[in-house]
Each structure stands twice: as structure tokens, then as C-alpha cells.
């Protein structure tokens, strides 16, 4: 039996000062080594859900025990262990690349987690090698293309050596070549993956299982091909049957 990497149990969430719940009792499990897609229309609560995976939300983590990472509840004491275990890739690379050079940015995580000296350098170098950006150490983030920025963001997370990768729209704004490159890199990473996206082709290629979320509730949790091929289900939740499944013949 593989161990459970992430477990959410009856997860509710409401932003301060609003009356409407953004997440209304979501429960699911992700086993170690699995790749799971999260799909749903705009405003379904995907990004909010992802922010719960390493304790960015709720803002005072002690109250909620709804999310567990490798059995560990997200509380004040083990918040930093969990943040090292779960790497979160944000949607806009400019939000995530906050340092002056690529090297500093990739080094930010590991240095927070206590790496220094030669060990820090080697962790950063190997993270940059994993995303094909060797030699970019001294470049400034504002001189990179979107695809390169996204890969630096990924390197910044990989440098923390997480066991779980939580990705919010990883292919957003990338051209087809950039997308392909990112997919190849993601395929090569053994970590457990949770990917929220509108890029349904990415889900088909990367994830064996998919969660469909709408209006803050989990609608279905099932095998990707089965779920995304159900045209009426997809249409009723503002999605569509992806092209690669449309032209696949039954024989």
C-alpha cells in the first residue's frame, strides 16, 4: 500500500469578511507517487484549494485540521516541515520570482530551510539543471521569457526537495514549445503531483486521476479518461471534452 501524501477531509473555507464559502466540504486523498489533476470552471475554488495544501490558507493554521500531509496536520509547529514537503507553484511567475537574480531566487527556499555554503550551491545548481537552465544563475528575472520564468519558479521549488508538487496553472501563458518543454520536465520528476489547470490536454497527458470541482464542492473524483470523456458532465461545469479525446477511436 502506498502511503497517503495528501488528505483533505471535509475542508471548508471562507475568506474573511465574506459570507459565502469558497470551499464547501471537500474530501479527497492523493497517494504518494500519484499525479492528480484538478479541473473546474473559473472561480470554482481551485486556487483556494491549492493554497490549503501547504498552509498558506487558512491564515491561522491551528484552527483547521482538515488537511494532512503525510499524516501530519497543518499546525503552527509543523508548518515549516509541511512547506518543505509540499512545493507550491503559483500561477503568475512574476509573483514568485521576487529576487534580483535567478541564483538568489532558486536559493531562497533552501536557505530558509537551513542550507548554506557549498551544499546550497550544489542544490541550486542541480535544481537549475533539472529545468534546463544551467548558466542562468546571474540573469535577472525581468530579462527572461515567460517560459524561462516559469522554469526558474519550478527550480525554486525543486531546490527545496519537496515530496509533493502542487502546481497552479503551470502552462498558463506558455507557447506550445514552452508547454512541451515544461511537460517533459514534469514527466521526469518522480514527486507526487497535484495540478490545477484549464489545460485539459495537460491533465490527459500527466494525470491518471482527476478531481472535478465546481462552486467549492467536489463533483467527481475518478480516472481522467473516463471523467474528461463524459461530454455532458464537462459541458455542465463550463468545461469541454479535450481535443485529443475527441479524435480517439474506440478500436
Amino acid at each position: 500500500m502506498p502511503s497517503v501524501a495528501i488528505e483533505a477531509q471535509d475542508l471548508h473555507f471562507r475568506y474573511d469578511g465574506t459570507s459565502q464559502e469558497v470551499l464547501r466540504g471537500i474530501s479527497f486523498r492523493v497517494n504518494e507517487g500519484e499525479s492528480v489533476g484538478i479541473v473546474g470552471p473559473n472561480g470554482a475554488g481551485k486556487s483556494t484549494l491549492l493554497l490549503h495544501m501547504n498552509g498558506i490558507l487558512p491564515t491561522s493554521p491551528d484552527k483547521s485540521q482538515a488537511v494532512r500531509v503525510f499524516g501530519l496536520a497543518i499546525t503552527g509547529e509543523n508548518l515549516f516541515t509541511i512547506r518543505q514537503t509540499v512545493g507550491l507553484l503559483f500561477q503568475d511567475p512574476d509573483d514568485q520570482l521576487f529576487c534580483a537574480t535567478v541564483y538568489e531566487d532558486v536559493a531562497f527556499g533552501p536557505s530558509q530551510f537551513g542550507y548554506s555554503g557549498e551544499k546550497l550551491v550544489s542544490v541550486v545548481e542541480s535544481a537549475l539543471a533539472m529545468v534546463d537552465l544551467k548558466g542562468y544563475e546571474n540573469r535577472s528575472p525581468h530579462h527572461l521569457s515567460i517560459g524561462e520564468k516559469q522554469r526558474v519558479c519550478l527550480a525554486g521549488i525543486l531546490a527545496c526537495q519537496p515530496k509533493v508538487l502542487v502546481l497552479d496553472e503551470p502552462t498558463h501563458g506558455l507557447d506550445p514549445r514552452g508547454k512541451q518543454h515544461l511537460k517533459t520536465i514534469l514527466h521526469s520528476l518522480p514527486a507526487t503531483k497535484l495540478i490545477a489547470t484549464h489545460d485539459l490536454e495537460l491533465v490527459v497527458e500527466m494525470c491518471s486521476r482527476t478531481l472535478l470541482i465546481d462552486g467549492g464542492s467536489l463533483i467527481t473524483d475518478g480516472p481522467t479518461l473516463e471523467l474528461l470523456s463524459d461530454e455532458s458532465l464537462m459541458l455542465s461545469h463550463g468545461l469541454e471534452k479535450p481535443h485529443i479525446l475527441r479524435h480517439r477511436h474506440p478500436h
Binding site: 493554497l51 501547504n54 498558506i56 515549516f80 512547506r83 518543505q84 512545493g87 507550491l88 503559483f90 503568475d92 512574476d94 509573483d95 514568485q96 520570482l97 521576487f98 529576487c99 534580483a100 537574480t101 538568489e104 531562497f108 527556499g109 530558509q112 530551510f113 546571474n138 535577472s140 528575472p141 525581468h142 530579462h143 525554486g156 521549488i157 527545496c160
Partner: protein, 204 residues
């Protein structure tokens, strides 16, 4: 979009670029302070300072045209203050002194900024034990000023593409709303950046 307003030539190859940051920062401070504090009657000192800075400018291979344009740009701000000095008795001399001192100081700082990448200046401040909150603010400012300029440009363009009449009052109203949007977007972005920092283990 690519921006290099602050330090366009900071990554050139020259003997000045290769000098240690600490030495450059110390010389910059020394020149600026003596230029500001020296009495206007020390003409020879000012001539010497100007020649010294010109030698550095030539050695650093920064195009002269760039330095002149940059100084002219900042001189506009100086001019406003210098013009106020003209209103005083004996204002002419004072006006000259302000222009001379500010031009030399500007040139000195421009030379530092364009011979040293900003992150190395920040690193140097860190070694001087400048409080880390201050350094984080400076580093984030340098990182996001370009993002902000891009964002302002996009909002402005979107507005202009739907503006069909030229009216002065309307332009002011438009500018105000661009600034407002920019403020809201920046605050939201700041929150997201903070989340991203926390996600990678940042502790206050």
C-alpha cells in the same frame, strides 16, 4: 518588455566594473559628501573632481551620450529647486553652486549604478549589516519596479485604445484612474508575493 532604466550598463566589461563593490561605494560616498560640503569658492577642487569623474567615465566604457541624457533628465528636478534659490539676494551664485554640486553628485551616483549590478550593491549593504528589512525592501523594489512599469503601460494602452477624443480634463481623469488601478493591482500582487515567499519557508 525589457527595462534597464536604473543600471543599463552595469554588466559591461571594464577595469571599473571589475573593481570591488566596497571600494566603489566608499569612493562614491566620499565624492558626493565632499562635493556637497565644499564651499563654492574652491574652484580648483570642483575642476579636479570633474576631471576625476570623467576619467572614470571613459575607463568604464559607458557611452557619454547616455550619461549626458541621464543627467539632463534628473537635472529637471534640480532646476525646480535651483530656480527657487534665484529669488534670494545673491541668488545667482547660489543657483550656480546648486547646479554644479548636483551635476557632479548625479554623475558620481550614475557611475556607481552603471558599473555595479544592483544585486551586488545590495549584497554589499548586507555585509555592512544594514538591517535586513531595509535590504529586503530595496531588493523587492528593484525587482518589481519593472513589473509595475509594465503594468502601468498595459493599463494606459488599454485605456488609450478606447479613447476617441482629446480632452485635457479627461486625460487627467484617466491618469487618476490608471494610478488607482495600479495601486489596487500592486496591493494584490504584494499579497501574492508574500504568499509565495511563505510557501518557500519565509519566516518574519
Amino acid at each position: 518588455m525589457h527595462h534597464d532604466f536604473i543600471d543599463r550598463y552595469s554588466r559591461l566589461e571594464s577595469p571599473i566594473h571589475r573593481m570591488p563593490v566596497g571600494m566603489k561605494a566608499a569612493v562614491t560616498l566620499a565624492v558626493v559628501f565632499t562635493v556637497v560640503l565644499a564651499p563654492p569658492s574652491w574652484i580648483l577642487f570642483y575642476v579636479a573632481a570633474a576631471i576625476f569623474l570623467m576619467i572614470i567615465a571613459v575607463l568604464s566604457r559607458i557611452p557619454a551620450g547616455f550619461l549626458i541624457r541621464r543627467i539632463a533628465f534628473f537635472e529637471l528636478f534640480v532646476l525646480v529647486i535651483a530656480l527657487l534659490a534665484l529669488a534670494q539676494p545673491g541668488g545667482g551664485a547660489r543657483f550656480g553652486a546648486i547646479i554644479l554640486k548636483s551635476t557632479l553628485s548625479l554623475l558620481t551616483v550614475l557611475l556607481l549604478a552603471n558599473t555595479t549590478p544592483f544585486n551586488r550593491i545590495i549584497g554589499f549593504l548586507g555585509r555592512l549589516h544594514v538591517p535586513s528589512a531595509m535590504i529586503t525592501i530595496l531588493a523587492l523594489m528593484y525587482r518589481y519596479i519593472f513589473v509595475l512599469i509594465d503594468e502601468a503601460g498595459r493599463i494606459q494602452r488599454a485605456r488609450e485604445s478606447r479613447t476617441f477624443v482629446r480632452q485635457r480634463t479627461r486625460r487627467w481623469i484617466m491618469l487618476a484612474s490608471v494610478l488607482g488601478r495600479l495601486f489596487v493591482r500592486s496591493t494584490e500582487r504584494a499579497e501574492r508575493i508574500y504568499d509565495a515567499m511563505c510557501a518557500r519557508g519565509w519566516r518574519q
